[in-house]
Symmetry: C2
Subunit: 593 residues, 2 copies
């Protein structure tokens, strides 16, 4: 039981049958064909040799099949994670060096270890702190960055940089070195691929293919572009005329590799590895949940962390680089009819065969075609409408998405995602630090109490009733003190304050101490403090402290009861003068609402 | 109007009369006497020359009197801020050097600028992120650190360090150098001062003093200790026998000084200055609010930031170091009858006279006495019972206080307070990331719906009703997705999900997108999504998006209505089979509650 929780393969493997097998094999063949160009392209994006992209798709797929919970997720290099890899590794080593490849292996190892640890300690909730607007802004900005970074392959020039300004400045500086043949190839491939996205599927339908086959056919567009441009470069010997090609790719199964364990390198890559892990996890789990929901299957987020952790460790020891569950490959896998994670294992087999036998065929593949593949893929990620949506929906979300996009573009991926997380947490804390509160009064003739600012209600001048519309904890504890101090100041007629707690779900120690301070200060000023409509769990919590013993007033089950009781107390007592004042006088609210 | 908001002196100054004047003058005389030893002691603690403590009490008091809103707050060097000053400045310069004094001035300047900026931009809420347990833990740990750091003056040895381990190791290493006469003086002074705290006041009462005079008399204990030990050192020429004394103190009004504007120094001191500002502000505002409440006066937190900012800038340009509103001096000021901030100005005058004429008298004052003053003062801050209270009240608060105490002791003040803030924010985010949710059913024969785990209720097998007991925002948006995915998985009979929102006060963009994803996934699985009991502001927010148009189900005013409607829909429709199952079957809850 507990073993099959950590090894989901024991669950689905036991029920594996021939129908599932044939579905899986067909899906694997389709995905394999699609993965080859994608893997080569993302290796280029990550600054790795092309074969690393294929290696990074083999062991990780198998390991995810063993440990992951999604039936359809396809794990391997993806655009955003490859970009982050290039940014992180580029900081510690130069592209094309052995050190670069080793650092990428180390990054994959760290990322795998972090994901595994998060999964084993069930810390998957940490990913929640990446809010949706931050993710949307980050992916959009990353898409722009990636597209900009690939322009150099289309133009056939050398350019560098990890921020938009750096990239554009570098492109500008090398603009006189443009290779026209490369540019022609690159632009043609890009235009073709954009057309494939929209135009190939209808064409295939018109040619008589069924909808599913037309769909799959359309997804093989990148393969067509690769075959065509490779043949052109080979046929016209364009590499002799300056067209950059993929070149020699070893014919080999994934090699066994050893990441560096240098403490210095590890400390340099630790933060990027954490960010890559979390971004990768968030991307992967969204895809997995979307696909699982269609078949009412269940995804266990903590087990997903373990599956992705194993996949990245696999990449680290077999010549790869950081991987995660990719959207496009998973959708193809699902649409092609993958039934179980075994489809992934068959895909791995297909890729291993490709790595052994097909690599000589891509010797003349121009890098411009791979860049075109990347540009077309990532521009579909760019969605600036998130800015408009966030603006319409809430200023807080707009702030988070704007900060994320700007910092990602102008200061790089790590700064962008960090700033986004920090901004959304700060904005959230700011909002909860100023909760809505309302001075309430009785709706005449009823037992209902409403905001004095919004409704015509009756109040008693010696009683201040304040409804708190939020749980009380440290970010807003002092705010309550301030508000009450302000409301109670300069009101000599005030003898009773009632805090109405129907919406208070929690009281933490800070809030408890604030309540104690409020109680003591009001007592010093000769004012009693009462509570009304306190929820059960909050009452239980308060009973664990001395607050209830120190409370100068009472706890009322309802505000109606509090109001009646305090009215009687005055009638019985002497303070008649106060009640002669008009009911409306106590109309003071803290916030509109 | 707006001017008097930024210059509260215009408000109270206009109504200043003779009664207030005489109250203020008496209070000022008492506070002056008490401040002299305290100022010297905290200068020692901060690693500054003794006169700096007096200078730091003069201009800051006057500036606070002009800009501050508290009528009784006394501003000057305080224990915790002096300790933080020593830690911060000790990192960039050696004690006793000109560089040290300059760095302290710079720190005061930065702290003043930060406080002023926070006040002008009304960012005082930032102080709320220091939760009460973190402050309590930090002050307790600081008290222990301070007492330990002063042991070297009592023992008459040289020892260093900014963490408990460093301090104790350093004391241990120099233990063979103990000066016995210093030790005797220091221990006597300490014992005397401890006795003064508890025993002097009753003695003075028995000698016939009134309660107020006895109270004030007891607070002059430190002055007695200083006079007595100074006379002993002078009379027996103990400084020749190795007793460290204060020595030459210039007879001067506060000098005009210029903090360093070196960018390097500023960048080194920026973070400590921020921490000092916030800790100082939190300490000061608590004191100010406590005293103001007694007279139903109002404290404006943002204006307090401006007052404290001005005070620190004053300290920076007149030979001081970072200051804030101190608890003990403010209480004395209040008890002695200070009516307005003018009392502070008179205190400043008294201290200026002391700086001019009394400094030769403290030449022979032993440092051990000042150390004894500090130890006795700070040990009253040490309150480890916060650990017990926090444990009893909530594990989250206990975690925050424990981390703060341990890191302050073992890694220093800056690490301690930072770790405390980070821990309490993380714990808070963790808690809100897993909100309480309950699957609900109808209490038979009523319109009430309760948790199926807690009550005997009726459910319909094709309807899942989930009550969400928290606002929905990014920390918990995905949790809702996970929970719903888990609840809906493997339930082929399910056709309708109702989310009950009576306790949802907010929905942010992340939660909106989660709701959209839930809606889409349920739709793919052939399940409709409904909402019930949505609050007005949340409904307004949802209307700003396309969610309501995409929603597959309906919005019900009450859960009762939802339940009735969905029952009818099935009766009208065909899915009879499902309703034959027993009502209890759908009993699945997400969390106990």
């Amino acid at each position: 039981m507990s073993l099959s929780r950590y090894l989901p393969i024991l669950e689905w493997g036991r029920r594996y049958d021939q129908a599932a097998f044939s579905g899986d094999v067909v899906a694997a063949m389709i995905v394999t064909i699609m993965l080859i160009p994608q893997s080569l392209a993302y290796a280029l994006l990550a600054g790795m040799p092309p074969e690393a992209g294929i290696y990074a798709s083999i062991a990780p797929i198998v390991l995810y099949a063993i440990f992951g919970t999604s039936r359809a997720l396809a794990v391997g290099p993806v655009a955003v994670v490859s970009l982050m890899t290039a940014a992180a590794v580029g900081n510690v080593a130069a592209t094309g060096t052995v050190g670069y490849v080793t650092a990428a292996l180390t990054l994959a190892m760290l990322s795998g270890a972090i994901l595994l640890a998060l999964g084993l300690f069930r810390l998957g909730f940490l990913a929640n702190f990446l809010s949706h607007p931050v993710i949307a802004g980050f992916i959009t900005a990353s898409g722009i960055l990636i597209a900009a970074s690939q322009l150099r392959h289309i133009l056939g020039i050398a350019a560098e940089g990890h921020t938009l300004v750096e990239i554009l400045a570098s492109l500008w500086a090398h603009l006189d070195e443009v290779n026209v043949i490369t540019l022609a190839l690159g632009v043609s491939a890009t235009v073709f691929l954009f057309w494939v996205r929209g135009g190939l599927k209808p064409l295939l339908r018109r040619l008589g293919l069924g909808p599913r086959m037309a769909d799959i056919g359309a997804k093989t567009g990148p393969v067509l572009a690769i075959v065509a441009t490779t043949l052109v470069v080979w046929g016209f010997d364009l590499s002799a005329r300056g067209v950059a090609i993929v070149g020699e790719v070893p014919q080999s199964l994934p090699p066994l590799t050893m990441p560096s364990l240098s403490p210095e390198l590890i400390s340099q890559l630790a933060v990027p590895a954490l960010l890559i892990s979390i971004i990768g996890f968030v991307e992967s789990i969204s895809v997995a949940q979307t696909l699982a929901a269609k078949k009412r299957q269940r995804i266990d987020p903590d087990q997903e962390l373990i599956g992705l952790g194993a996949a990245n460790l696999g990449a680290a020891f077999t010549g790869g680089f950081p991987v995660t569950g990719g959207f496009s490959r998973s959708v193809v896998n699902y649409d092609a009819g993958a039934e179980t994670p075994a489809a992934g294992a068959f895909t791995a087999l297909g890729l291993a065969l490709a790595a052994l036998f097909l690599t000589p065929l891509i010797h003349y593949l121009p890098k411009a075609t791979l860049a075109a593949t990347i540009i077309v893929a990532v521009l579909s990620l760019v969605d600036l409408s998130i800015l408009k949506r966030a603006w319409a929906f809430s200023r807080a979300d707009f702030a988070a998405v704007t900060v994320t996009i700007l910092l990602t573009l102008l200061a790089g991926v790590e700064a962008g995602v960090t700033a986004g997380v920090v901004t959304s947490i700060l904005v959230h804390l700011y909002k909860t630090s100023r909760p809505h509160m309302a001075v309430v009064g009785r709706v005449p003739g009823t037992e209902h109490f409403r905001n004095v600012r919004r409704h015509e209600v009756e109040t008693q001048p010696h009683v201040l009733s304040l409804r708190v519309d939020e749980s009380l904890y440290f970010p807003n504890a002092r705010y309550l003190e301030d508000q009450l101090a302000a409301l109670a100041a300069d009101k000599p007629e005030l003898t009773d304050v009632v805090l109405m707690f129907p919406a208070v779900n929690e009281v933490d120690l800070s809030a408890l101490e604030s309540l104690e301070a409020i109680n003591a200060r009001l007592r010093d000023a000769g004012i009693r403090l009462h509570l009304s409509e306190v929820k059960g769990p909050v009452m239980d919590r308060l009973k664990r402290s001395h607050f209830l013993e120190e409370l100068t007033g009472e706890i009322f089950l309802s505000q109606h009861e509090a109001d009646l009781h305090l009215r009687k107390a005055v009638t019985a007592g002497a303070a008649r003068a106060a009640s002669r004042e008009t009911a409306g006088q106590a109309r003071t609210g803290t916030k509109d609402g």
